[in-house]
């Protein structure tokens, strides 16, 4: 299969799982295969496995949200049935956001609920035999880009001059270090999520390519997919909220 965007540098495709020309051992396939190449405005776009899986999960989440919305048109003051579950989910995320960011910024809960559901579904999708979209650096980088934008947007709008002054503290000589450190924050966030999920996926592929697949997959799935997946999702949301809160002056 043709190699994707990064074919000039050989180490990165191997690192992040993009297709290379190297032959793949039977049953040990954790590359991001390119399904189709599309010409778009003079550029070649690659439709990858990650994108197709992401679209599928987006569709599932959209349909779920529309169903819930249709159902909650006739909500009752005292919840019953499915309304209980929905209220519990929303309230849990709401109190989680409140505990991290304070009551004043509880409106971030709505955004992080969406992020949480998407990352959780992606991380758990390894259980259903998909290649988790979060095991692609592109997905996690896109999500952390929104966090990066939120951090600095909130910093500039709420902090105003204090935001820029923060880069000169404690002494102005540290300006380059502060700027590098700010740029490193979203990158390390995306690398942590990506690395954890990719590591789990590679180990699962290795287990499935050997005779161990008759013995350990269930236990390994519990740890690498369920435990690590849920934990990384919670940590991602929590750290994003803490980083955003950090830039907002009290």
């Amino acid at each position: 299969m043709k190699s994707c965007m990064l074919d000039k540098i050989t180490i990165i495709p191997n690192l992040v799982g993009y297709d290379t020309e190297a032959p793949v051992r039977e049953g040990l396939d954790f590359n991001i295969s390119v399904y189709k190449e599309v010409q778009f405005m003079g550029h070649t776009c690659y439709i990858t496995k990650t994108m197709v899986t992401t679209w599928f999960f987006m569709l599932v989440l959209f349909i779920f949200a529309l169903c819930v919305r249709a159902k909650l048109k006739k909500y009752t003051q005292v919840p019953k049935g499915g309304q209980n579950v929905i209220e519990m989910l929303v309230e849990t995320m709401d109190s989680f956001t409140r505990s991290n960011m304070g009551d004043k910024y509880a409106y971030f809960g709505k955004w992080f609920f969406g992020v949480f559901m998407f990352i959780l579904m992606s991380n758990l999708s390894g259980l259903l035999g998909f290649r988790p979209p979060t095991a692609d650096l592109a997905t996690t980088a896109a999500i952390t880009l929104t966090t990066f934008f939120l951090i600095h947007f909130m910093g500039i709008t709420k902090g105003k001059a204090g935001y820029f002054k923060g880069y000169l503290e404690p002494i102005p000589i540290l300006l380059p270090i502060n700027i590098i450190s700010e740029f490193a924050t979203p990158i390390s966030l995306s690398f942590r999520l990506f690395g954890n999920i990719l590591g789990g996926m590679i180990i699962m592929s290795m287990i499935y390519s050997t005779a161990a697949k008759y013995v350990v997959p269930a236990i390994a799935h519990i740890y690498f997919d369920v435990f690590a997946g849920v934990l990384q999702t919670v940590i991602f949301c929590m750290l994003s909220q803490l980083f955003i809160k950090d830039k907002i002056p009290d």
């Binding site: 540290l174 270090i177 942590r192």
Partner: protein, 81 residues
């Protein structure tokens, strides 16, 4: 529960946030060195800057974590230390 999540977040994030600034500066330094033909000076400066930035990232994260504990009301509120 929240404290456990916070500690686990700290554990998994600290190593990465120490490493990433160093790698960014290292690769940026190597790239600039190749472009300008000044090997190995920009890389050396980059690594020093990267180490300092990594230290700052770790410091900011841990300071955020221990901020609650310096609050004199922290233990009175009934939270466990």
């Amino acid at each position: 529960m929240k404290d456990i999540a916070k500690v686990l977040g700290l554990i998994t994030q600290l190593g990465v946030s120490m490493l990433v600034p160093i790698l960014i500066c290292l690769f940026a330094g190597v790239f600039l060195d190749r472009r300008l033909g000044t090997s190995p000076w920009i890389m050396t400066v980059g690594i020093i800057l990267g180490v300092a930035a990594g230290f700052r990232s770790v410091y900011m994260m841990t300071a955020e974590f221990f901020k609650d504990k310096d609050d004199p009301l922290y233990y009175k509120k009934g939270k466990k230390g």
